[in-house]
């Protein structure tokens, strides 16, 4: 039997709490960017998912993602309701911490991923449609993809693709699904005709700070131990965020003639997204370059989405979909066994094949997420109804969906 290591367990529990904090941080990040009449409904999306997916994960999500594989496609239902998931380590995933510690750490990833999508349908989606969509999406998109990429026997993992902390599992799935949501729901009333400026930029900056803080748990925690690999991932995470914040701010300064505060915040998030799949495989200088690529690439993507008149309200596709893809492919370029012997060498270290493998993983996950999301949205539209009425949208979702207002004038 494998021995539990106290330091490893302590770090993973702390990292779990850090990742948990990212979801309320996301609520503030998104909440500040919507109009005053929709701030509570936007914050509710993240808070509600924290509760909803936590229960779903224990009952069936975890076993579908990490249970004994069924053909490399999905985890079996052996661990439904955490049956057999106890306090002894599971050496297949983390040999020095209790299996439940690994389970609850992964739970926080399952929580934040559908919450990320909510930025694309902010200010116009019915709450009940959101509830059904989130539950189905967590079950039929997140869990299978997590199994493909991270589950023992998962076909993408077996193929040799690398994803240290969720570039494909978290960010490409959510980013691509967000684009599908934006296209299926259509634009907000008045989009492109009336101002829809962020109602509270300071709230967004506070959310960014909490995301950046929590991301140390997201990436360094993915080492699943408290040793050198966690330190390496911690350092690369911070450097990529910093470089991307500088890059986005500079790009927006060139493009829009002023250094945008919200741009610097969005850039930091873009860098955090881009480094996520690479965090435990690359050197600090590679992390700086990945941050640069993530900041610039996501800035261009967001500009193109806006120019394409797609109302991805809070730029989820541009930041998470494109940032995740940039990070996944960059992992194939910059990864080195000198940092993580359990990984692989990338293009710069004499192994161009890893780039091809990473691109296949990106395309497979993006196509699957887009297809299933489209089907789910259409099913929900014909049953529950996906979009609020024009009157409800004009009134604001805080009042029309929740009967509350954020601010008393």
């Amino acid at each position: 039997m494998d021995a539990i290591n106290g330091a490893d367990t302590a770090w993973v529990l702390i990292a779990t709490a850090l990742v948990m904090l990212m979801t309320p941080g996301l609520a503030l990040f998104y909440g500040g960017m919507v109009r005053e009449k929709n701030v509570l409904s936007t914050i509710m999306h993240s808070f509600f998912i924290l509760a909803l997916v936590s229960v779903q994960w224990v009952l069936w999500g975890y076993t579908m993602a990490f249970g004994p594989t069924v053909g490399g496609i999905i985890g079996g239902l052996n661990w439904i309701g955490l049956n057999g998931v106890g306090l002894e380590p599971n050496p297949d995933y983390a040999a020095t911490i209790p299996h439940q510690a690994f389970m609850v750490y992964q739970m926080m990833f399952a929580v934040i991923t559908p919450a990320l999508i909510s930025g694309a349908f902010a200010e116009r989606k019915r709450f009940k449609a959101f509830v059904v969509f989130s539950l189905l999406w967590a079950t039929f998109v997140y869990a299978p993809v997590a199994h493909w990429v991270w589950g023992v026997g998962g076909w993408i993992r077996t193929m040799g693709a690398l994803d240290f902390a969720g570039g494909t599992v978290v960010h490409i799935t959510s980013g691509v699904s967000a684009l599908v949501c934006a296209l299926v729901l259509g634009k907000r009333l008045g989009y492109g005709k009336e101002p829809m400026a962020p109602h509270n930029a300071t709230m967004t900056i506070l959310g960014t700070a909490l995301l950046w803080f929590g991301w140390f748990g997201f990436n360094a925690g993915s080492a699943l131990g408290s040793g050198g690999l966690a330190v390496s991932a911690f350092v690369t995470t911070h450097l990529a965020a910093a470089m991307a914040a500088l890059t986005w701010m500079t790009a927006s300064w060139i493009r829009h003639k002023q250094p945008s505060v919200l741009g610097a915040a969005a850039g930091a998030v873009a860098g955090l997204v881009a480094i996520t799949p690479a965090a435990g495989f690359v050197t600090p200088t590679s992390a700086l370059i990945i941050g640069f690529l993530g900041g610039l690439g996501c800035f261009i993507a967001v500009e193109m989405v806006v120019r394409g008149r797609v109302d991805d309200a809070l730029d989820v596709f541009g930041v998470h979909g494109i940032g995740g893809a940039i990070g996944a492919i960059a992992t194939g370029i910059f990864a080195t066994k000198a940092i993580n012997p359990a990984g692989n060498d990338g293009l710069l270290y004499g192994n161009p094949g890893l780039v091809v493998t990473q691109i296949i993983a990106v395309l497979a996950v993006a196509l699957y997420a887009a297809g299933v999301t489209f089907i789910l949205l259409k099913l929900i539209d014909v049953t529950v109804g996906i979009r609020v009425s024009s009157d409800e949208e004009e009134k604001g979702l805080d009042a029309s969906q929740h009967g509350e207002t954020a601010y008393q004038s």
């Binding site: 101002p195 400026a197 962020p198 109602h199 509270n200 930029a201 300071t202 500088l246 890059t247 500079t250 300064w253 060139i254 003639k257 002023q258 250094p259 050197t283 200088t285 590679s286 700086l288 370059i289 640069f292 710069l348």
Partner: protein, 47 residues
């Protein structure tokens, strides 16, 4: 010094140059208002 470090140094240097040479219309507005009225322009709203 390896190639990645050189590339990173070059990128950082280019950005620093950009920050120095790029115009900042917001700052110019505040300075101009102060010169004209003796009162600083109100802080920019998030709106």
């Amino acid at each position: 010094m390896d190639a990645l470090t050189i590339v990173t140094l070059a990128l950082f240097a280019l950005m620093i140059i950009a920050w120095v040479v790029l115009p900042s219309t917001g700052t110019e507005t505040v300075v101009q208002d102060e010169l004209l009225t003796g009162v600083a322009a109100p802080a920019a709203s998030a709106q």
